[in-house]
Amino acid sequence: MNVPALTKAARLATVCPMREAGKRGRRWGAMMVLMVGATMAGGCISVQAPEKPIVIELNINIKQEVAYKLSSDATKTIETNRDVF
């Protein structure tokens, strides 16, 4: 059963010690100025994606390997069936 509180619960004393509203706003503003300034001055390292997609041509390698394997087998096949080839 929910018992309504008779008095308004007070916040814990440890929350937000010595916070000053005026100073907080100033710090935020200083950070913004710093960030905007850095962007303006070109201090950021910009990483640009290449216009063409990066393609790694692995399939050519695999195709070559298969062709090579078949080729050596074909040579044997020709030698063992000389009457047909």
Partner: protein, 131 residues
């Protein structure tokens, strides 16, 4: 009695050995003389697809021989393609690359455009994807 038996066994072993030798020779035998002659005369040629082709208007027996050899080739290609996890056509093409490379001067082969060429002293014109 035992000596006679021994001689008989020896003769049997000799006959068996000779039989094995004949079978071995049959397996790796050379081209049929008619086929060898047709090749040399340029009546038949190697195609890039791994099969033989008749060049021009050849007699009926040459055409029949080419059909027979191509059926035997296809049977071999099918067996080997299965063993190599490939397809009959792919295996045949790879073998065709080899066969065209192995033609000797004077023999005919088909270039990638489908025209019959006579093999000269230099390398034959083959498909660009030949290994």
């Amino acid at each position: 009695m035992s000596k006679v038996n021994g001689i008989r066994m020896g003769v049997m072993a000799l006959a068996l050995g000779a039989g094995v030798m004949v079978a071995g020779a049959a397996q790796a035998q050379d081209r049929d003389p008619a086929y060898a002659a047709a090749r040399a005369a340029g009546q038949v040629g190697e195609k890039p697809d791994g099969y033989l082709g008749v060049v021009g208007a050849a007699p009926a027996e040459i055409q029949r021989m080419v059909v027979d050899l191509n059926i035997r080739r296809k049977a071999i290609y099918a067996t080997r393609a299965q063993a190599q996890n490939s397809t009959i056509d792919k295996y045949a093409e790879i073998t065709g690359c080899k066969l065209i490379a192995q033609t000797v001067p004077g023999e005919k082969y088909m270039d990638p455009s489908g025209a019959w060429q006579t093999r000269g002293g230099d390398a034959p014109v083959r498909r660009p994807d030949c290994p």
